[in-house]
């Protein structure tokens, strides 16, 4: 949250090499492990393997300008994946944060029983790696194995096909929500714990009910934490990969281009076309950056009005 605050720093004293020495490790790490790889990705994205000679020919790497970018931006499968990813985010982020907030507020009410056990229970899915979670849910989804379906059929209810073309989107989103609620709940719950008790005393003296306290006191006070979890969740959404990629071989409803990262993975590691994958990565990274800055600016303006 401090990262988001707009506090002023005192004017710095100039002189000496100390500032440079102190900042050097961070700069070196940044350049070595972030800027150089990004630069190399951009370089790769401007090149391609092209064949020379007849017969089997020989692939030779050469500069092709923006051809890869043209290819990516006109690839309907990639663009469909982008739209699907945005839709996925539009479903997952509000549902996940809504549930996380609800659970955090419930756990924060006075006289709640078994708070610790419940908290751990809700947090636990976050500790399950995404691939494992997807396999686990895959077993619950697969029509021939699903215990959910067998229970529904045994009581003569229609059993949904969780991996059908129209349902698979929500089945994947469900895994994301299941895995993400716990983490966000803990962040919000911690923020709630940081609110001084006098606030609640004052509200109660004024005759506020628990619900009114939650809506009028707690939520406004933890807005910075909400903004932070929202940003994290949005970025995680743009990186969604392991859930659909793990379910992909189990279902005919998830193509290998379901979300942009899957397309990038396929291009790089199945089709051996690292150059198209690099271009698609750059496009996705720029999109993520733009979206994050946009959301941050928007939320900051609303959330921190009082600061300015």
């Amino acid at each position: 949250m401090t990262a988001l605050s707009t506090g002023r720093r005192p004017a710095r004293r100039r002189g000496g090499s100390a500032p440079f020495v102190l900042v050097a490790p961070a700069v070196v790490l940044l350049v070595t492990f972030l800027l150089v790889p990004i630069g190399y990705t951009v370089y790769l994205s401007l090149r391609a393997a092209r064949v020379t000679g007849g017969g089997f020919g020989r692939r030779v790497e050469q500069f092709v300008g923006l051809e890869n970018y043209r290819g990516v931006l006109t690839d309907s499968a990639y663009l469909d994946g982008v739209v699907r990813m945005l839709g996925y985010g539009a479903v997952v982020v509000p549902v996940m944060l809504g549930l996380a907030l609800l659970f955090a507020l419930l756990l924060d009410t006075p006289r709640v029983r078994l708070a610790r056990t419940t908290r751990i229970g809700i947090f636990l899915p976050y500790a399950v790696p995404g691939v494992i979670a997807s396999l686990l849910w895959g077993f619950l989804y697969l029509p021939g194995l699903s215990p959910i379906r067998s229970v529904l059929t045994s009581v003569n209810l229609p059993a949904p096909d969780f991996l059908g073309p129209s349902t698979v989107f929500f089945s994947v989103a469900n895994i994301g929500v299941w895995g993400g609620v716990g983490f966000n709940m803990i962040v919000l719950f911690t923020a709630l714990r940081g609110i001084p008790g006098e606030m609640y005393d004052a509200a109660r003296v004024d005759g506020a009910s628990e619900i009114q306290i939650a809506l009028r006191v707690k939520i406004p006070l933890i807005t910075p934490a909400l903004v932070m979890t929202a940003i994290f969740s949005i970025i995680a959404t743009l990186q969604v990969f392991s859930e659909p990629a793990t379910l992909q071989p189990m279902s005919d409803s998830i193509p290998s281009t379901w979300v942009p990262l899957m397309t990038i993975y396929r291009d790089a590691f199945v089709n051996s076309d690292i150059h198209t994958a690099a271009a698609a990565s750059v496009v996705l990274a720029l999109g993520t950056l733009a979206l994050s800055i946009g959301v941050l600016t928007l939320l900051q303006r609303r959330a921190f009005r009082s600061d300015q």
Partner: protein, 453 residues
């Protein structure tokens, strides 16, 4: 939510299909096969000077064959100064990607395990060494058909390790129970499929898998298709030829009608269906018996193997699904020693017998195919003592097939196009046309000359 970042790394390490296959219990899911016949005009990088085959060496071998370490141990015990180290980098197409990357970085392994259909990708990237000289000394160890899998245009690019002729596995017990006759033709296959649906509303004769392009290519090969040909430097792509369309329309019609299942193979659900009798038959390859052991151990002794149904009664033909070869890196500084090992691994009876026993593969070498290790049937099929004799007869009927340098792209398109066709109950013939278009577009994009495009 930083965990998604870490997870994507996990998923990459596992790979998607390979990971699921691991779950399905198939360590060495050998995919995809076939014969490369045409094509020439390949310019190999100038070969490094021949070294001494008996000089000390330290060879790296990237492979995914099951238990290959035990076979390599035999070599290492016999050749203490020429150590071979196995490195399990990845499987199938993912290994190819790794090899290409390593080749560019200048640290490719000396020895490379590659499926036949992946060889053109390696060749066009200049990864494989020209083994024509070695080939002269061991050509007689292989049949002409097998030899054609790795030698084109008079150049040998790799030495065949194993082959995967296709055959039909069926549940003999359930066929008896329902009074079904084993189909000899695809028309009979359809009739039996309908009978199965009538006898048991939960059961299907077989499934059509969108996840296994090599399986589809093998079935097309059996029908008489030949997807790629290289005519003096120009590629002729005929994925949507008449035999493929006939075969696709046959399966598509039955899947869309609900007579056959359309669920992918190698999923936990498929394992269950293969175990509990939901699926009664599996058109697969010779290594299928080993796969059954992993996915349906409870059905031991209940399966039988026979030739694939035929398109014309009286004819006998099959395709290849799976099979692979050993290539040597063009950049290897230990060429002579590597050649010595490759020759031993793929032709020495001790090595091929060990690979049969430890890895469950069907060797490409003629001597290997009559190995005493093949005298007993696979563990899953004690009821068919003549398994390998039957298989050898079927293997002789395999047709030829040519691969292109963009099989990887074609295969990943296959999975998406047919998954969609199954989900939408759409015409499989149209999907074949789209596959053709996607494959041609990619070849052209890469700069190959493509006929009629």
């Amino acid at each position: 939510m930083l965990r998604d970042k870490t997870n994507s790394v996990d998923a990459q390490a596992f790979g998607r299909r390979t990971f699921l296959r691991g779950v399905a219990g198939i360590g060495a899911a050998v995919t995809l096969p076939a014969l490369l016949t045409a094509c020439g005009g390949d310019e190999e990088a100038s070969a490094p000077p021949k070294g001494d085959p008996d000089a000390p060496a330290n060879l790296t071998f990237w492979t995914w064959t099951t238990n290959i370490e035990k076979v390599v141990d035999i070599w290492n015990a016999k050749n203490p100064t020429q150590k071979v180290s196995v490195s399990r980098q990845a499987q199938g197409e993912e290994l190819i990607t790794k090899v290409l990357t390593a080749h560019r970085a200048g640290n490719a392994p000396d020895l490379i395990h590659a499926e036949y259909q992946a060889l053109p990708v390696l060749i066009t990237n200049g990864v494989t060494a020209d083994l024509t000289e070695l080939a002269g000394t061991i050509k007689g160890e292989f049949t002409e058909g097998t030899w054609g899998l790795t030698s084109f245009g008079g150049t040998t690019h790799a030495i065949p390790q194993d082959v995967g002729p296709m055959m039909l596995y069926y549940r003999a017990d359930l066929f008896d129970k329902h009074g079904l006759t084993v189909p000899k033709t695809w028309a009979e296959f359809e009739a039996v499929a309908r009978q199965v649906r009538a006898k048991d509303s939960k059961a299907y004769l077989a499934t059509f898998s969108s996840g296994d392009p090599g399986w589809f290519a093998g079935l097309a090969e059996q029908a008489g298709a030949n997807w790629w040909a290289n005519e003096s430097g120009t590629w002729n792509v005929t994925i949507n030829d008449e035999p493929t369309k006939k075969m696709a329309a046959f399966w598509g019609g039955l899947v869309n009608e609900g007579v056959l299942s359309g669920k992918p193979m190698y999923t936990p659900e498929w394992n269950k269906e293969m175990s509990d009798g939901t699926l009664l038959a599996w058109p697969s390859a010779i290594w299928g018996a080993g796969v059954l052991e992993g996915v349906a151990p409870g059905t031991k002794g209940k399966w039988a193997m026979t030739a694939l149904p035929q398109w014309d009664a009286g004819s006998a033909s099959t395709g290849y699904w799976g099979g692979s070869a050993t290539a040597i890196s063009a950049k290897s500084s230990q060429r002579a020693q590597a050649e010595k090992f490759v020759k031993w691994l793929n032709t020495d009876p001790e090595a091929t017998s060990a690979m049969i026993k430890e890895g469950g593969i069907y060797p490409a070498a003629i001597s290997g195919q009559s190995s005493p290790a093949l005298s007993a049937p696979p563990a899953m099929m004690p009821n068919q003592p003549t398994f390998y004799a039957d298989a050898a007869a079927i293997a002789k009927t395999a047709r030829g097939f040519s691969w292109a340098p963009n099989v990887n792209v074609t295969y990943s398109s296959y999975s998406d196009l047919f998954a969609k066709a199954i989900a939408d109950k759409a015409d499989f013939g149209a999907a074949v046309d789209q596959l053709q278009a996607a494959s041609v577009a990619d070849l052209k994009k890469q700069g190959f000359q493509v006929k009629g495009a």
